[in-house]
Every structure is written in C-alpha cells, then in structure tokens.
Amino acid sequence: MAASVLIGAWVAAGLTLCMFSFLYKDNPFFRFGEHLYVGISMGYTIVRIYYDVMVKSLYTPVIQEGNMWLLVAAFLGLLVLTRFIPKVSWLSRISFAVIVGFGSGVAIPRIISSNILQQVQGTLKPILGNAGQSLFGMAQFNALLILIGVVTVLIYFFFSIEHKGPIQVAARIGIYFLMINFGAGFGYTVMARMSLLIGRFDDLILFGSRDYGYASVVLLGMIAFGLFMWERRSSVSPGPDQDPRNADSNARNEYPPQ
C-alpha cells in the first residue's frame, strides 16, 4: 500500500475519532480537530476564491478578453474594504446597498415563481373526475387533501386577524398538516444522517484492519488514554480548560420546551 494512502487513513481515522470524542464532552482532542478543521477550511476557501473569483472571473476576462465592465464589480468589491478606514468606511454602504438590492431583485421573481405560482398551480386540480375517470378516486382525494392542507396552513399564517371561531379551527387543522409534514421530514432526514454515520463507521472499520496498521484501534486507544490523563490532571488542579461556570451548566432553564 502506498505511504500516502496509509498516512491519509491514519489522519482520517484520527480526526474522525477526535470529532467523535465530543460525544464524551468538550476536550482537547475535539478542540484540536475543531481548530484544524476551521483553519484548513479557511485556507482552502482563500485559495479557491483567489483562483475561482480573482483569476477566473476577474483577471482573465478583463486582461485577456477585454470585458472592462467587470471592473465596476471589482470597484464595488474594493469599496467593501473601506470598512478598515473609519473616515471613508461609509463608502462600503454603497456596495452593501447594491448587494441587498440585487439580492432582493433576484429573489422576488423567483419567490413569486416557486412559492406562489407553482404552489397555486399544484393546488388547482379538479376534485371530481371527468369522463374516463371515477367521480371521486384517489387522484381526486389527493387534490382535495392538498387544497384543504394549503388553505388551512395559509390561514394559520394570517397574523393580522384573531384566531377565533372558524379561523381558529382552520388554523388548528393547518398546524396538524404542518406537524405531519415535519414528522415526515424528520424521519427522512434522520435516515439520511444515519447513512452518513454508517459511512464514517465503515471507514473506521476499514482503517482498523491489518492493511492499515490497525489505525482506528490504535488511535482510539490513544485518545481514550489521553482523555483519561486529561481528566486526571483536571481533577487535580483546575486549569485553563476547566470553566468555573460548569457548576450550573447542566441546569436547564425554567422555560418549558415547545
């Protein structure tokens, strides 16, 4: 096996176990993994932005293709940097105004399209069958169910009318529809997360084999020993890792859960 693959396996197994050590509690291994993760992602982002934005989207089109209008965007980008100079920091607001205005301009037609028109389009279905169909089959039942769901959920989201009488009943039905949707979404997402977890365990089991020098097993032992030593040292003398506010950290607030 190539040395690079072996080193990669040890690093992957070690960092995975460092992050999993959070299941015990906040500890130096987790902090190491966390800080390394943040640092590497930041470094990677800077390099990616340099090549994808500065070189590909600005330097090449302006210098090689002569698209000078891109300099306007570059100038607006530079204005953001004026925030570091307090006297002219107000100039950065021009860029922010453009960004927010452009963002809203792009978002509004898209929202009308996806959240309004497509929603209405999906709801406008006949609730009684025509020739060739049963008068009230499954398709018609679904259409009716969707109509009731959309109407009642919309009623729940009325803010300027009091939810009393029939409005309250409709809003309550709307909430039931929402909760059923959330339950289905919860199950769906949890299953997806489980597959991610299985993927990590799969890797750890693979890296724990003889081919990889029992990487997972050795590193798990090292981390467990490290945590033991860290706990022992912490219990002897309160160090910088120990937060004096820990005493009441587990005290749950008095607010009831939703």
Binding site: F96, L124, R245
Partner: protein, 439 residues
C-alpha cells in the same frame, strides 16, 4: 399504378373465358364497367396509406428567434396541410450557410408537433392547431450562437415522394423580456401596490391587531435572562447569503435584538459564515446601539467571521456554545444539515433557544431542540411584531391580504377546474393560466 395493373389482368382473364364473340363483347363491356365502377368507388374509400397522395411543400413556413429566451433557440412554424397523418412525415433541415449543406435535425409524423402543443400562455403564444411548430435548441453537439444566421428547410414525405419547402433564415438573439412571465410581474405589482396601500393605512391607523407569536414574546425574556446571568447572547443569521429572504429577515430581527441588548447592556455575539452578511450585520447592530442611545456599548467585534465551510463553522460555533456558555441562542435565517448539530449542542448547555427558519427540512429539528420556534412566515413577521413600527406592521397586513387573495384564487380556481373537467370545456383555461408558472 397497382390498381391499374390489377384491372388489366382481370379484363384479360374475362376475355379468354368467352367463346362467342358478339355476346361475349357485350358481356365483357358490362363486366368491365362494373369493375371500373368498383375500382373508382374503392379508390374513393381506400385508406390513405395505400394511395399515392400528391404532397405539397409546407406553406407559410417561418423561422424566427424564440421569444423570451436567453438566445440560442430558433422556432420553425408552417401551416398544417390536409394530407397530415401518421404515415406522412415532416423533416426539418438546418444549415450554417444558405448554400448548405443541410443536415436533418428531426423527422416526425405529420399529425404531431402543433403550435398548441407548446407549453406557453395564451398571452404570449398563438396556441392554434393550424400550424406545426418545431423548436431548434442549442445543444453541446450543435451550438446555436446568438447573433448568427442559420438556415432552415422543411420537407414532407410519405416514403415514396418528398416535397421540399422554401428556405428561411433566422438569427437567435437573447431577449430582454419574457412575456410568458408577465403574470409573475403583474402579481409582483399587485402585491407591491397592496403593501404600499396597507403601509399608508397603518400610518393613519397604527393600532393594527397582530396575533400573539409565543417565540417572539420570549425574546425579551431570553435577553433578560442573559442579563441576569451575566452571560452573552449568541445570534446566528443562518447559512445563506444576502440574496436569501430569510437572511434578510434574520438581519432585521438582529436589529431589534441588538436594541434590547444595548438597553440591557448585555453582550451580543454574532458569528458569521458569510463576510457580506457580517459587514451588513455590523452596520445594523451599530445603528441599533445608536438608536438605543448606547453607542459607547457597541463593540465592533460582536460580529465576527469564522469560515465559509458549513461543518467547520458548525464545529466552531459548537465550541463557542460550550466554552462561552451563552444564556440565550437565537437561530434565525436559513439552515442546512448543521441545524440539529447547533441546536442540540445549545440545548445541552442549558441556554434558552429561539429558532426561526423557513427551511422546512430543518424545522423539525429546531422544534425538537429549541424552546421556541418561528415557523416559516413567522420569521418574516417577527420584525414587525417586535418593533410595531407602522411600516413593518403595514407590510405584514399587506402580506395577509395577499395571502387572502391567493387563498380565494385557489378555491375559486379549483371549482372552475372541476366544472371545466366535468363539462369538458376549455373556457376556464385562460383564467387558470394566469396562476401558472411559465418558463
């Protein structure tokens, strides 16, 4: 040709059977006449497939730039012919130059590809069945460059004979307006007018009723609790950039929260994933501290950038939650898979948690791990609810009226669609198309 040949053979056979010349001549004449009549009749009622139909070249052939697109697409239309049927086929040819060579793009039965088959609204497209239509699109193999002329021909064939129409050219160009989306534009104008009207109303009569939103009532409690405990408040604006409406809503709510933290002199921490959102939030928080009369309490580093990466940002925020132990966590804006990781860690620290998002897949996780959750539009209503400013309250009222309009449209539209289906009429289609999303 085939029928003529059979007729001759038949007559020969009849002639050879007869021995008497005169009688046989008369009989032969009558039989021939009968056969001729039968042949003519059978010709009149024969299926088209067995006939040699004289094919005329496609008439009123037009090539045109497709309206309302970004270029790279040409439309071809020609008049439907009386001989159109499943056995007759149209062939579409294209060339880069008028002289050719022409390459065949498509071949299809003559009773398909009508203008009425195109999914476009009545206000931007002639949906008649009197014309055939074929759209030539740019593909990786065959690129149509905007601003360049392309040449087209359409031929009709029945397998035995082919008739070719005239050549037409067209230039694909990008269009500024897409008329198919006029309903989208009109709805935007309608809702904008509605919101402006209700804002004006709210300014005249500020006492507009707003129903109670428990999650927002808890904002003050959460800030008060953080003040009493002497711990910071952690406020997240979500994972999207400023083009997301939920991020915009989250920044507006941040302004209201910042006013209260300024008044209570509580520390506010806002870690960011997006540098632009961070810079805008710095401005908003600064403004809020000024409005609260506490510019001295404003700290520029209350908004700080961590990283763009989703899970390293999550790990860092989790670390902040564990080490700083904020008394209140606010999760406003749009979230992805990090939602549960953040909210679960926050719940573990004992902080009061208020979430607000329109990410429907993440809402279940917030509901299960947070004390209060603003669901969907409640996030947009939050700023109006917290500030009670007439402009924001008027906007909320306008949104409610807009929702009422859509609700009525859906109910009436469903009734019309049902009647249309039962009666079998297309009379309501133009009306229902007003509420369809066209590309």
């Amino acid at each position: 040709m085939i029928f003529s040949f059979e007729f001759r053979v038949l007559s020969c056979e009849l002639r050879t059977r007869n021995s008497e010349p005169r009688r046989s001549t008369w009989r032969l004449f009558s039989i021939r006449s009968l056969v001729a009549v039968v042949f003519v009749l059978s010709t009149l009622h024969a299926p088209r497939s067995t006939l040699a139909v004289s094919l005329a070249p496609p008439e009123q052939f037009e090539a045109f730039d497709m309206p309302g697109d970004g270029g790279g697409s040409i439309g071809l239309s020609w008049q439907a012919a009386p001989f159109d049927g499943p056995t007759v086929r149209y062939q579409v040819y294209m060339a880069d130059q008028a002289q050719g060579p022409f390459t065949r793009l498509a071949e299809f039965p003559a009773d398909t590809h009508y203008k009425s088959d195109v999914d476009r609204p009545w206000w931007s497209w002639d949906r008649s069945r009197t014309h055939h239509f074929y759209q030539v699109k740019s593909t990786p193999d065959r690129r149509l460059e905007s601003g360049r002329s392309y040449f087209f021909k359409v031929a009709v064939t029945d397998g035995m004979q082919t008739s070719e129409g005239s050549m037409q050219s067209a230039v694909p160009t990008p269009n500024l307006f897409n008329l198919a989306k006029v309903n989208n534009f009109l709805l935007m104008l309608l809702f904008s007018a509605l919101v402006l009207f209700t804002i004006a109303q709210a300014k005249r009569h500020p006492a507009i009723f707003l129903r109670r939103i428990p999650g927002l009532d808890a904002v003050e409690e959460a800030i008060g609790r953080a003040t009493e405990m002497g711990r910071p408040i952690l406020y997240l604006t979500g994972s999207d950039d400023m083009s997301s409406l939920s991020t915009i809503a989250a920044t507006v709510i941040l302004g209201q929260v910042a006013k209260k933290t300024a008044a209570y002199d509580t520390q506010l921490q806002v870690p960011h994933r997006d540098p632009i959102v961070m810079a805008i939030c710095q401005e908003i928080v600064k403004e809020s501290y000024l409005e609260a009369g506490r510019p001295d309490a404003y700290r520029d580093d209350s908004n700080f950038f961590i990283t763009n990466d989703q899970f390293s940002y999550t790990a860092a925020v989790n670390g902040i939650m564990l080490r700083e132990k904020p008394a209140a966590n606010f999760f406003m804006g749009f979230y992805y898979a990090e939602a549960l990781l953040l909210a679960e860690t926050g719940a573990g620290t004992g902080a009061i948690q208020i979430a607000g998002t329109d990410a429907d897949l993440q809402l279940p996780f917030f509901i299960t791990t947070c004390d209060y959750t603003l669901i969907g539009e409640e996030l947009y209503a939050a700023s109006a609810y917290l500030s009670r400013e007439p402009i924001l309250v008027g906007t909320l009222r306008g949104q409610d009226l807009g929702k009422a309009f859509l609700l009525l449209s859906m109910v009436i539209g469903t009734v019309l669609a049902t009647i249309g289906g039962l009666v079998g009429t297309q009379a309501f289609v133009p009306l229902l198309q007003l509420f369809r999303d066209f590309k």
